[in-house]
Symmetry: C2
Subunit: 196 residues, 2 copies
Amino acid sequence: MNLRERKKAETRANVLRVANELFREKGFEQTTIEEICAQALVSKRTLFRYFGDKEGLVFPNREERLEAFRGFLRAAELPRNPFDTLRSATRVWGSEYNESRDRILAQQRLVEGSSALLARERVIDREWEQEIAAAFARMTGSDADADLWARVLAGAIMGVIRATMSYWFESECRADLVELGLDAIDKLERGFPVAP
Amino acid sequence: MNLRERKKAETRANVLRVANELFREKGFEQTTIEEICAQALVSKRTLFRYFGDKEGLVFPNREERLEAFRGFLRAAELPRNPFDTLRSATRVWGSEYNESRDRILAQQRLVEGSSALLARERVIDREWEQEIAAAFARMTGSDADADLWARVLAGAIMGVIRATMSYWFESECRADLVELGLDAIDKLERGFPVAP
DNA sequence: TCGCAACTGCCACCGAGTGCCACTTGCTAC
DNA sequence: GTAGCAAGTGGCACTCGGTGGCAGTTGCGA
């Protein structure tokens, strides 16, 4: 890595650190871009070149994460049925989240406190949902029916994931996310029993 | 209704009409609040008193719609199981949407063209999802398990609804939304068959 | 018709985000 | 090593959405 590239990476990391410290101290909306700039010793202009907008400071590496997920889906494609793919994804991401409870919980408290962040979170969810739908469509046929099926299933999946995570957050992330997730997937595969 | 109230209603309707005309002509982001104000003969301050923000001009009567849905859920509660409630809601809203295809399609094209509007749409979906979860929780028990079950199911429901609607939009709303909806609900109740 | 409450308009202001251009800094070819 | 170039940064002025505050207007009820 170049000196130039190293400097860039450092600046980026520094801005990110400063911003999230401030957000956690005073809240997302209460922190202004100028404050972050002052404390991170960069100009406003530069900050916006690194992170397209203020929300980008809370959800960094969005594209990289999505790309990692895409890679996972591609790798899981051939032999599996959709639900097994899903279970395996749940094990990977679920245990990752289990292990970084604290960081994720703090992040989530931030998000819940601002409608701009909530909105952004949903937009990101949608990107993931589209990847799931695309992967499932590749696994099955590619006619209109299969496409509809894939999209509806992907919608249901992101819905249960989001609901499961929200429940997990409320319990301060004490439960095992993998277990909760696998449970939810079972319900999707076999149908929701009318009584819990 | 008072003269005062009539005037208010008229102002509101007028602003709404002007705004949506402009949005459809030039796009949401390309239309400024000042343009709307100039053409609707109100001050910026007044516009924001009627509609909290710019997005509110595209999703008006948000609270009323939600309240109507709440009313529906309350009325449907006692004898039914969750899925029948859901089917009956699908018949009501689905046929309403079927009948106003044109308006809804135009609205949706607007929404798809702006990430701010997409984000707002998701936030509104979430409000509805929470009402569904609350209704289901009332129907079944009220322990933690029942609560989790209700929330996960509600999440799945909003997910399939959103996916179904997005498919419907892409086909220019030619298909029968009620039929599509009932199909999706069946999948949730009985489990998703692995092949379409 | 008088007094009050509701409503509106205006103005100054804030914060996010952009376009533009001058300036600095690291890289590279010679 | 250094000249020249590209990448990156800072600063400034500007736009636009949104808010606070207050003065002025208008409908309503006593």
